[in-house]
């Protein structure tokens, strides 16, 4: 049966005792898509992935790969392969044998398996490494062996469980780009799990944000970033300033939120007695002269309490009158405020569009 999706998860629930690790989750992944599941530690990402791979069985719901239900199909018969968090390379085999393992399991002859393995190693940039022991590889090289070992089988779907978690920051940045390119050249569907929002944002076509066993929102990185559907997504994806208050009057599309100090902010969204408002640091405009912010509905004055210098990603923490937490704002290094010092007075402002309001 032809199917327009590679993976369909239908109302899948997994309980360990009374605790639902995965709670009524549904989504689909299209062929060739890079799909990420992003969520904090313990939210059930690995459990979900292990159900797709066949190592756990859903308490209820269905898992379909290319339209075929995988319930009752053992892990070694599923057209999915997994890159484990710990990579799980076979230490008793050489690099070449690791890659050829899956092929020989399928009954491919030894000679052909070796041939295809060495071709695959060449494609991932490990030409001539076939006879090395896996213990004699660097972290990035092992990573590539683990992926080559899956891709050589030409699976419908590759599952990756935080494969970059064990690498140092520099290498992780590098592998992010490399993984994305690999996925592009092989045109294989990837389902990738991570708790690192920057990994998910950089690599994915679509991201599902998961929290406590449930999906909060599924969408493109841009959608999640600019139009978060829930307060959890707003605070988990990207840096943000979070304000708590109560919703006051709403008029022509904007809603006012009164902070405990009495200050009022204008935003967009829905609020109730209790409301949460979020504004991104890059949406906060800075000025020394309040006149230049006069067209913004949200205007406040404060004092710089910290300068977080990080090149292009530098930001300021500003103690703002009426706010419990300092406001974080991106500090453009090319602007007039680049040299601002701690203690300097500054005015902040943002549009109502930039402020998302949710009922808490």
């Amino acid at each position: 049966m032809a199917s327009s999706t590679d993976l369909d998860i239908v109302n899948v629930t997994k309980r360990f005792g009374s605790h639902a690790a995965v709670d009524d989750v549904s989504f689909s992944v299209a062929p060739g898509e890079f799909f990420s599941i992003l969520g904090p530690s313990g939210c059930g990402k690995t459990t979900l992935m292990r159900m797709i791979a066949g190592f756990e069985h859903p308490t209820s719901g269905d898992i379909r790969i290319r339209g075929q239900s995988m319930i009752g199909v053992p892990a070694n018969k599923r057209p999915v392969n997994m890159v484990f968090q710990s990579l799980a390379l076979f230490p008793m085999m050489s690099v070449g044998e690791n890659v050829a393992y899956g092929l020989t399991c399928r009954g491919v002859s030894r000679a052909e398996a070796d041939e295809r393995a060495s071709r695959m190693l060449e494609r991932v940039g490990l030409k001539g490494f076939g006879s090395r022991r896996v213990t004699a590889l660097s972290g990035g090289q092992r990573q590539r062996v683990a992926i080559a070992r899956c891709l050589v089988l030409e699976p419908t779907l590759v599952l990756l469980d935080e494969p970059l978690g064990a690498l140092d920051l520099k290498l992780r940045e590098h592998m992010k780009i490399e993984l994305k390119q690999l996925q592009g050249t092989f045109n294989t569907t990837f389902a990738y799990i991570t708790h690192d929002q920057s990994e998910a944002l950089v690599m994915s076509d679509r991201i599902a944000v998961m929290n406590q066993g449930r999906f909060e929102q599924v969408g493109s990185p841009r959608e999640l970033y600019h139009n978060p559907a829930t307060p959890f997504v707003a605070s988990f994806v990207g840096e943000t300033n979070r304000l708590q208050g109560e919703a006051a009057a709403a008029s022509n599309g904007t809603i006012a939120v009164r902070l405990p100090s009495g200050a009022v902010v204008q935003g967009q969204g829905k609020g109730a007695a209790k409301a949460l408002a979020f504004v991104r640091p890059e949406a906060v405009a800075l000025a020394q002269d309040p006149a230049s912010l006069s067209n913004l509905p949200n205007r406040f004055e404060g004092r710089v309490s910290a300068v977080l210098f990080d090149g292009a990603a530098s930001s300021l923490l500003i103690d703002t009158t009426g706010f419990e937490q300092p406001v974080r704002a991106v500090l453009p290094q090319a602007g007039p405020l680049a040299g601002i010092q701690v203690g300097a007075p500054v005015h902040v402002g943002w549009t109502a569009d930039a402020m998302k309001v949710f009922a808490a």
């Binding site: 390379l89 008793m92 899956g102 070992r149 089988l153």
Partner: protein, 289 residues
């Protein structure tokens, strides 16, 4: 300078018990036995240097046949123990958790709280003609007459496997425990059947443990005395019995010494061969044990 001497002295003092132990109990008797094995009795109480004791071994069929039988049976017992212990060790190392794991290991250890002799006598109580199993078979109507289950090779093998099991399970479980669960899962994930995963991942990983267990069990079995004698009776025909007979019954110490040396040679040769065939080194193997 003085500090260095002092530290040497401490090292020497620390090593002294080990050296004494090795020297007095192992090296010295063996040198003595080696020397003894080359002395022939030319007349009553007159001995001369010669290879007669070794020649005697090759000319008397009973001796070398018993020898070969001991070697063969010991290898068989080792193999059986391995086959039996592997699933148990696999269960202990990979399935059982927490208290169950400790309980199972304790259960394996339990038979060793009584002496080997008592354990073997236990088997005799079960297996002899008037024993528990014979009685049960009769009362169930399976057998009409008392059944003698003792004094055959089966009984000897049973006793020896039972005695070796623990020494196989512990190094095996140790080796299997260090196998990362994700590696086994990856084996299945990439399409391996149970058999493939066992053959290509689990067994190669456990190899040092397998070899360590086999060496220990083989040595214990070859050198065992009570089990073949008690459970095998006249049919036991274990080489240690020949050594015992020469030393104690016949009072022919030089002959017994030659047999002892041959047994030592045999176990060393087979252990060496085993290490060679499996490509393991003694060092890594001993670490597992």
């Amino acid at each position: 300078m003085i500090a260095k001497q002092a530290s040497r002295l401490t090292l020497f003092l620390l090593l002294a018990p080990a050296i004494l132990w090795l020297g007095l109990l192992i090296v010295l008797p063996h040198v003595e036995i080696l020397v003894l094995s080359f002395s022939e009795r030319v007349a009553p109480r007159v001995y001369a240097f010669g290879f007669g004791n070794y020649l005697e071994f090759f000319t008397e069929p009973l001796y070398w046949r018993t020898f070969a039988r001991t070697a063969f049976m010991s290898i068989l017992v080792t193999a059986l123990t391995l086959v039996l212990a592997f699933p148990i060790a696999l269960y202990i190392a990979r399935v059982a958790q927490g208290r169950l794991k400790a309980m199972l290991l304790l259960l394996c250890l339990l038979p060793f709280w009584v002496s080997e002799l008592v354990r073997t006598l236990g088997w005799m109580i079960l297996l002899r003609e008037t024993g528990v199993i014979s009685y049960a078979l009769r009362s169930m109507g399976v057998a009409s007459q008392p059944v003698e289950l003792l004094y055959n090779d089966g009984a000897v093998i049973l006793g020896l496997v039972y005695g070796g099991l623990l020494f196989m399970i512990v190094p095996l479980a140790n080796a299997l425990e260090s196998l990362e669960p994700a590696v086994v899962e990856a084996g299945y994930d990439l399409g391996g059947s149970r058999w493939t995963v066992l053959r290509r991942i689990v067994i190669p990983h456990a190899m040092p443990g397998i070899v360590a267990g086999c060496i220990i069990v083989f040595m214990l079995t070859v050198g065992n005395f009570a089990t073949p004698v008690l459970l095998g009776g006249k049919n036991g025909l274990w080489f240690t019995e020949q050594i015992y007979a020469q030393f104690i019954t016949r009072f022919n110490w030089p002959q017994g010494a030659a047999f002892g040396m041959l047994l030592l040679l045999l176990s060393s040769a087979i252990v060496w061969l085993g290490l060679r065939l499996t490509g393991q080194s003694l060092g890594t193997t001993l670490k597992q044990a």
